[in-house]
Amino acid sequence: MPSLSAFFSRPRLVFATAIFFRLALLIYGRWQDANSAVKYTDVDYLVFTDAARFLSRGRSLYDRATYRYTPLLAWLLYPTTWGGWYFEFGKTLFAAGDIVTGWLVYIILRKHKGMGTERAMRFAGIWLLNPMVANISTRGSSEGLVAAVVVALLWAVLERRIEVAGCLLGLGVHFKIYPFIYAASVFWWLGGNAVRAKGENVVRPRWYEVVTTFVSPARVRLVLSSGITFMLLNGVIYGLPFLEHTYLYHFTRIDHRHNFSVYNTVLHLNSAYYQEAAGLKIESLAFIPQLFLSLFAIPALLAKKDLASAMLAQTFAFVTFNKVCTSQYFLWYMVFLPFYLPDSSLLRRPRLGITALVLWVLGQAAWLQQGYQLEFLGMSTFVPGLWIASIGFFLVNCWILGVIVADVGDKEDVVIPVVALESKKGR
């Protein structure tokens, strides 16, 4: 369509639209909060702002029930304690984070994927103009901030700014634990050539070459900068309540309120009736497929083919195999879609793409329907309703993950001609 084409070929217009869209939602949200018993603002945002208020009065953040985040977040939201319109400061910050993320996606697509303006803008629009993303950020959920940090990490790595990447990695892990999986893919990606072209031949590195070049200067810089950042952030905010609520909580959490995760029913059963738990400790076993895929297999096999898509696959695997899964987690991998979709079979074969999307939505819809019956109609849909729905959604996600992995695996390895490597002069 000509008008769409004209729209996307003017980045400033698209960004302006995205900003305006979010501003409108922010103002609407404030109006709804003031005039309706049903609030636009997310409950989590009230937790953050309460914690910021506690901070301003010198009390402990963790007095606020369900505050399980880094103190950085409460500090960032300090202006919300000034009252009036300043209360929306946090939401504005998160929405701004969205825009920054979108901009970073755009420049990565342009520079490192070699896309034209319009095409890059279209794919960046998946994030910028996505109503779900805008809704989540303007309601006051902090997922957008983490997405910004993660995309900035990707940008820094592709720009070969290792220290910046390391700091962002440390910051991301401090904020929400899951970005530690990107350490694996970035680390592996920094290892350099996947294959080398020797004259007219392509040579894969021998195993001993892999081993001897394992500790490369780039990798050392990454590990050091991320480790130091992480330690600093934790050290500055040292304290048992922090550790307990931010990190340890995630290992011992027992609130198995129903969620999308495939393990939810089993964990609920085992928690309520520990005599019935069949010897297997699902809580510990569940880490195995999740970490094997997201921390080892996917980075090792796919990181060097396409870092951004590998990060998508990692995140997708992490969320799918996680013990808890809520719709906010989908944003974690959604931010990588603009990098993966251009070359993906989901776009090349529209039927496949549409099927995947429809199944993904239907899987959630089925679960939500059972959840509605439980929460609001009081029907006992734990088993089989919610359980089967969660298994269905899980299998759909595994299939989609398979498609992603196949697509990335099909890509050609990144090749560095030996000739170019050995010459010290520029091309």
């Binding site: 029913t265 929460e375 299998l395 595994c398 992995v405 695996g409 099909d410 520029g426």
Partner: protein
Amino acid sequence: MKQRITYLVPQGHGIDPASIQTSNDTLTFADAKDAAVEKRVTAGLSELPAELVTVLQDVHELHIRWSSRLNYAAPSPFTSRLPPGLHVFFTPRKANADVNICPLLKQLFSPDLKCDSVAHSFSSPPILSERFSHSSSYQYFHPLARLLHFQTFLARTLCGKFKGLCVNEAAALSYASYVDIDFDAISHAVTLTAFWREGIEAGAARTVARKWRGGDSLEVGILQSEVADEVEEVKMGGYLTVVGEEDGEPGPTLFSFPSRHHALSPQNSTSNTNSTPPTSPTFSAHFQHPPGLHPNLAITFPHPQHLAPPKDSCALHAYLTLPSALFIDRYQLADPLFLASHNLVALHSLSGEQDLEAPDWVIKRWGSAALLELATPPPSTITTTNASSGPADEWTVTIPTHLRYLQAPSANTNTTTTPTPNTPHTNTNTTSAGRVSLEIPHPSLFWACEAQEGLKMSVNPFDRVNLGYDGLFGPKTMFYHIPPTALDADGGRNVLVERLEVPVLEPGAGAKWGVQVGTLVAVGVGFGWVLWVLFGGKAGAGRRGKGAGVGVAQKTKKEGGEVVQEKKADRVKGQ
């Protein structure tokens, strides 16, 4: 041992002195069956069994209040009410000392009480001021239906000494509307107070007023409520006697005293027609359907036109004690718009277990106590001249609560095919597959009003303190109680608990549906599929042969070239 028995003759009856017969150690009142009775027995520590005394050594004060779940009329001066069940208020002698009265409570009332230790199972209600003595440090509640266990304990331990009629006294407690047990370290005495409503048919409810042994004192009053001079006072007239004294004839008496708790006087609606008799406001409570996991407790006032504050500066309150299966979210109730949509004014106090996420099986505390201020209907409803009272005229206040995840009871009761009189540990019964039945006590409703200065409420011989909610107000507060409706929706006597059907995950469901194995299989299938795609089928493009490799080199020269450039740049930079 001191006894004080008060017969409260209902309005409209006269008190005929001839109906009172006294002897050396008994008193017989012929019209006793129409009267409400309050009995108060005070015993010194030396008269109690040793096991009780050792526990009470470490206790500064202990107040136990049990209220029946059958509705009853509460005449003045016995108007104070509590949610039905067992309330325990307790302060240890040394602050923060770990005094465990749980074994004592289980021994006295039921082995099924959810009580491990004071620190874990009791809650700490907010204390308004250190000097205000009407709130204890710790609070506990259990929806106990009957006192059978306690009666058995009394009969076994105390009646050994007193024999015979003592067992009748213990048995008569089955008909009591409320029973109070008070101990404080200063007086070294334990007081048991019980109240029976008027008009109980069963003969077993009444016992003769008799001294249990020589040396005891027995004081009997046969009284009737009179119209008080001051609005805040209660006036009683009748006959008082101390049995066994020389001057044994009952002496007439008339006295008034300020009282904390009052009944609401019937109010005329300001209507032109005289056909509506003056009625007092009442309330009924039920959970709205369908309750789901977020049940709303609806408090309905059938005649809102009578719901006017009895004085200036009064506020309508509801006091709830919720077992741990239900909880109130204080953050939700902080928003004025949300409160207004439920006809609430504010959540004034919430103490106890307030974890918003934990399931019930990890909660050790008994639950939570909440004090809410309710909104009253706008004045136009109160002065309406419409005498009919259809459902449209009702005023409803809703209290939003939330359910924790529950266990199905068969998992943790390790005995019994025979039903016990007391409900099992989690106070639940399975009714149908996948559901559990909870019993939630109704709240107590009252107007809290500011009292005049200079009133000495403790002069009241029938004073009842440590009720949980009175400690949340200042000392100069008067309570006007709104009683529950006499009959429930079915026309039977109103039982002051609500049944709630809660969906629950049954342990058998795991085996029945193969949840454990099924989940493992599903995860295995998904995991295996992804692995196969990763390692097997399609990810092996990089291992194609030489020829393709060359093509590869040329095809990806641009991308590879870019990478090369960056890498070279790094080398130049001195990587």
